[in-house]
Amino acid sequence: MAVNESLRVLRTTHYDEQHYSLFLSAGSIGPATRPGHFAMIQAGEGLRPYLRRAFSIADVTTVAGVPALEFVVKVVGVGTAALARFAEGTPLPVLGPLGVPFPIDDLVPTDRVALVAGGIGLAPLVILARTLAARGIAADLFYGGRNENDILKRPEFERFLGSHRCRYATDDGSLGRRGLVTDLFTHALAGGARYRRAYACGPLPMFRALARLLADAELEGSFAMESEMACGFGVCLGCVVPMADGRFATICKEGPCVAPSRVDWTRL
């Protein structure tokens, strides 16, 4: 049950020129949010951007005591640039929480899971990490980026999961191991790590590689996927991906969190 409401900008925290956290008043979306949910945000009344933009709800938290939704955003174009510039107090139309969240209710405290993040894909894993920690479920983080600046929210992850459970990889080796996040994960599996499920969010190449790894290791996965979206709630049919059963499935409604085994990676 999603809500279409107007939420105020509470704070914008910039990490570097390309990354920031946007905090909006939680409204009635906050209490309804589960890890993996996303929201559609209208970046102002103008015509550019025209459509709302989709963002994972990175966390439900507070700003100076006020209940807040946190979004972690990477600037890639007009909408993500516009969202970075709103003054505190500006009301923004927000639709959420949307989509199918990560499956976590079937986990038990003895379970151990993996969180795999690539670049801005960290966003939905923040609230997931906090929720799992609260439920006493052990989780290993594998987090990769082009360089150090791509690695965001490190303190939070290490607080939630324990720093010994957080491993990083960067293309240039500026933080953690030089290479891809999937190398980290392969290495862990080779080292005998076993997981009840792997939760992942990142760019398509990461998803492809990870989907193969999980299939080979016969591990379950849940990927928070992306696609261009016009509506966010299943009516424009614009956000589809090809599924193994031959259908096109809407990422906004049947996803964003889907089992990689259901996706037809060859046609994507």
């Binding site: 999603a2 459509l51 639709l95 509506c231 614009g238």
Partner: protein, 314 residues
């Protein structure tokens, strides 16, 4: 001041002139949490085909300046699933339902309307004629008055429902299309469908839409839509018209009514704000009250135009 929003529309009488456009409103039910479906004048559901259709491979949409391109490929659950799984609930909610239909051949269209048959839960049938005629080598039905006339005659013979033909704007003479449809038995017209457009990803040098071209919708096309509504209204003073194309505000709604639309359909704007259509119904009666308009139907076709000057040389 009490404002009468009821809208005579051929054999139909709509609660008000605010409808929603096919393909931008799903099967209606998806919007139940954002507005009161029964409060709308009508909803046109996603284009229905005789069999379920998978649609086009992605990418299917991209944003453009003041609009978007789409090539969904008419993905839909098929007319049978619609009648079985969606229509009962829509009827229960008191929704005025317009079944938007399409096909690759005349037979496909006929098959869909025959499945709907005399079902009274469907208020009207809206034909999307912006589809390639696979038999006639992919020529768009709606872009050729003869093909359009032939198609409409076949469908007209197959249904007793009010028949609305939704015109393609990608034509030299929208009035010729309108006449062809009306002379072939259409009870009403919807205009406009999307303009064919293209957008390119510079890095890959590929179209941003997998299908290459897509349908342009949104505020960008409003002036073209409004012009076509006015042209058709001038030529066919009595035909019921649904106007659509970039409508986002109550002022836009009134603009279309003044140009000659009896009612409007909200399209792409439903994506920006799923509650919009419901709010526009309320805002329209406020606008009418503020402007001393007792019956919204009094606005229809009231555009005052000036005589057109010839070129004046010295």
């Amino acid at each position: 001041m009490k404002v009468d929003l009821s809208t005579p529309f051929g054999r139909l009488r709509l609660k008000n002139p605010i409808g929603t456009a096919s393909g931008t409103f799903g099967y209606g039910l998806e919007f139940a949490e954002y507005l009161d479906l029964a409060a709308l004048g009508a909803i046109s559901v996603k284009g229905l085909s005789r069999r379920p259709c998978h649609g086009n491979p992605p990418p299917r949409i991209c944003e453009t300046d003041a609009g978007m391109l789409n090539a969904i490929g008419l993905q839909n659950v098929g007319v049978d699933a619609f009648l079985a799984d969606k229509l009962p609930e829509l009827a229960r909610l008191g929704t005025t339902v317009i079944a938007n239909v399409w096909g690759d051949t005349e037979e496909d269209y006929v098959a869909v309307v025959e499945r709907i048959g005399a079902d009274r839960r469907v208020a009207a049938i809206e034909m999307n004629v912006s589809c390639p005629n696979v038999v006639k080598g992919g020529m768009i039905f709606g872009n050729n008055p003869d093909a359009l006339a032939g198609l409409v005659k076949r469908v007209r013979a197959a249904t007793a429902h009010p028949l609305i033909v939704k015109l393609s704007p990608n034509v030299t003479d929208i009035v010729a299309s309108a006449r062809a449809a009306v002379d072939s038995g259409a009870d009403a017209l919807s205009l406009i469908n999307t303009l064919v457009g293209l957008a390119i990803d510079l890095e890959t040098r590929t179209p941003k839409i997998g299908f290459t071209t897509g349908g342009l919708s949104g505020p960008a096309i409003r002036p073209v839509a409004l012009r076509m509504v006015w042209e058709v209204r001038k030529a066919l003073p009595k035909i019921p018209l649904f106007g659509m194309g970039g409508i986002e505000t109550v002022e836009h709604v009134v603009e279309f009514l003044i140009a000659g639309a009896n009612a409007v359909q909200i399209g792409t704007a439903n994506f920006r704000d799923p509650s919009l259509a419901g709010r526009l119904v309320k805002e329209l009666s406020v606008w009418c009250a503020d402007h001393g308009v007792a019956r919204v139907s009094d606005l229809v076709g009231t555009l005052k135009t000036r005589p057109r000057p010839d070129h004046f040389f010295s």
